[in-house]
Every structure is written in structure tokens, then in C-alpha cells.
Symmetry: C2
Subunit: 216 residues, 2 copies
Amino acid sequence: MTVEAKAVTTPASPPLTERQEARRRRILHASAQLASRGGFDAVQMREVAEAAGVALGTLYRYFPSKVHLLVATMQDQLQHMHTTLRKRPPAGQEPAARVAETLMRAFRALQREPHLADAMVRALTFADRSVSPEVDTVSRLTTAIILDAMGLDAPPTAEQLSAVRVIEHTWHSALITWLSGRASIAQVKIDIETVCRLIDLTAPGAAAAAPTPRKS
Amino acid sequence: MTVEAKAVTTPASPPLTERQEARRRRILHASAQLASRGGFDAVQMREVAEAAGVALGTLYRYFPSKVHLLVATMQDQLQHMHTTLRKRPPAGQEPAARVAETLMRAFRALQREPHLADAMVRALTFADRSVSPEVDTVSRLTTAIILDAMGLDAPPTAEQLSAVRVIEHTWHSALITWLSGRASIAQVKIDIETVCRLIDLTAPGAAAAAPTPRKS
DNA sequence: GGATAATGTAGAACAAGTTTCAGACTTGAT
DNA sequence: ATCAAGTCTGAAACTTGTTCTACATTATCC
């Protein structure tokens, strides 16, 4: 029996009416659509507004900047991916293998829409302080996916959370290098597998590496 | 006796005249200056041109985009840092400790000019394919710094290079989270130390983690 | 059901990155 | 010294993210 993962929820500040919810969805859909065509640059605010059947000013009321919009788009896509991934949990025995498998599955999904991936990841890493809350939500979602894949029996230790953070760093940065054509798919795979070794290293009971003396 | 590190050189396509070299330096200086004031947004091409005493068109001849300019600025700063770091090599015994120490030293340097760091790192991760060669140069420089810090006795193995790649990923991404206020300095330190454990893990002769069966 | 505040629309206006162009200045070869 | 090719300048134009304004529509509350 694995630990129950807490749901990652957006604060959802003011409740939206039905039509507002519909507008919001139309906007996110248009954003993803345009992103799929031509990546970050192809998501032009006027075009998003037009495709969503909404005035430019309204678009900006829902998403205060292009980066906000794309990060929200990423949130949206990640939700889908999370539920999809949960349906077929990874097969590996070791937590490290399961995490690597899960991330590679996600990576293959991104490969099917490389332009969309480009738009979302570039927005994510370009986001400044004003987008912190939204980026944080994405980060929590990613963390949840990784912890899910680990399938822990107990709540993660601080060490394990550090490992997960590093995996997340590597995941984002490796995606960037792939998207900008500086690393091959194979290279990304190796990087992911390499960083996932940290999971074994930080498993409770594992021989600790440098500073901590083992208890045994 | 440690392995001699190869110098990381820029291809330096057409040789520049003295005045051109001077212009280039003025531009880079202006860029760093403005970046130090207000980060990425404060580096405005018209202002850079004016501060460097150069026409806008000339600026664009030297650096075909703002991102190119800032990545070149980063290259420049990294060169400085590399030579500075080499003067006082890290003190730790283990390679992992030395790398962590070196990166933390670099991190403290960045903390002294957080706006400059912001401009450079944001440009680096936002760069698209058209900037790949320049970004690659920065990456090679960073790799050189890390390998230097490891102080290897032999050329790095493929495994070690993977570990270095992952460390680089973590380094960039951790900087981003710090710059956007989503992680504290302490958090960055932990992430760096965590990822540096991979170095011990991939040292030749170390007990390999998951897939490779140990030889001993 | 009507007053009123919030939300949405169309479109102009503004800001900063990028492009373009005509003319002046350098440079290198003859 | 001079000519041609390449470079630099100043200024305008263009693009796209963002803001603003005046007016229409919708929602909420009495």
C-alpha cells in the first residue's frame, strides 16, 4: 500500500460563472492550439484572443501576460498527463527505474507535440517573479508526478525531497537543451537515468554517500 | 598531477580590427552595466547602443538579437570567473566536495550582482535554436569549470561526463528558481550538494548503483 | 424589474525588439 | 592618391506584447 498523494489544487480565487469558465477553456485551448503549430513565437496574444472569440482586453483580464497564459496552459496539460500516467503505473522494481520510466513516458508525449513543449517550457523558465505562484503550482504538480512514480511506502524524507527537486531541475533543463537542438533524445534519456540514481542514493537505509555516517 | 584542461575557445570567425574589437567590448560593457542595474528588462537595445556610443544598426550587426547579446555577456563573465576560480582551487578532499565548493563560490559571486545574473541566466534558458552555438560555448565553459574543480587524474569517463551534465542542468535550473524568488539561497545550496553526490557515484571504481553489477 | 457594479468589446495608443535604408566613413588593393 | 567594398550612422518603419478608453452587456442585489 503506497502513501496517498495529496491532490495538487490551484487556489481558485474567485468562483467563475459558467460562461467565464467556458471562456477560460476556449482561451487555453486556443493557446495550446497555436503553440502546437509554431511554439512560443506562434502564440500571439491577438491571435489567441481572436481564436478564442474574446476581446484582447478580456484575454489580459484572464491571463495578465503571455507567460501567465502559457504557464497556465502547461498546468492544464500537466493535469492531463498526471491522470494519464496514473492509469498505467510504471512497471520497474526500483523507485529509480520507475521514476525514469515515468519521465521518459512524459518525454515521449512531449515529443509528439514539440512546438507545444517549446512554448510551455520556455515560458516556464522565462517566467519572472510576477508568475511565481503559477510556476509554483506547476512545480508542485511535477513533484507529485515524480513522488507518485516512486510509489513510496512512507512519506518522503527530506533527503528524498531534495533528490526529487534535483530531478525536476534536470528534467526542465534537459528539456530545454533538447528543444533548442543542443541535445539528442538519447542524451536526454541518459541524463534522466543518471539523475534518477540519486533516488537509490537517498532511499532510507541506503548507504549514504559522503558526509552522513551509516547507522547499521 | 591533474589532467590538463583544454582551453575553451570561441571560433572567432572573422578577425576584427582594433576599433571593432573596442566597439565590441564597449557594447558588452554597456550590456553588463545595464543588466546590473535592472536585470533582463533593463537591457534595452537602444540604451545599450547609446551607452556604447554605437548606432542601433551596428549593435545588431555585432549581436543579432538581445538574447545573443546577453549570452555573449555571460560568456564574457564566465571567462573572468573561470580564471578567478582557478587562482584558488577548492580545498575539499573529495571531487564532489570540490565541485560543490566551486559552484557555491560562483553562486556567491552571482549573489553580488543578482540583476546581472538574472539577465544572463534568463537569456541563456530562453535562447532558441538560432543561439545554439553561443549557448553551447557557455555550456562548454561551465563544463570546463566543473571538470577543473573535480581535479581528475585521468580523462573523465562517459559516466562522469553524464554526471557533469546533470550538475550543469541542476545549476542552471536552481539559479532560475532562486532568481524568481521560488527558492532560498539555502535551498540552492542543498540542491547543489545533493546533485554533487552523483560524482562519487560515478567515480571509476565506485560501487555502481542500479543497473551495472559491481565488479569487485 | 430596475439600479448599479462588474465584466466584456472594439479599437486606438504605447513600448521595446527588430528591420530597413540612404548616405557618410574606413579600409585595403591598386 | 583613388577606387571599390565593406562598415557605421541616424532615423524611420514595422511587429507584437501590453495598456488604455469609451461604450455595451451581464450579474447582483434590493
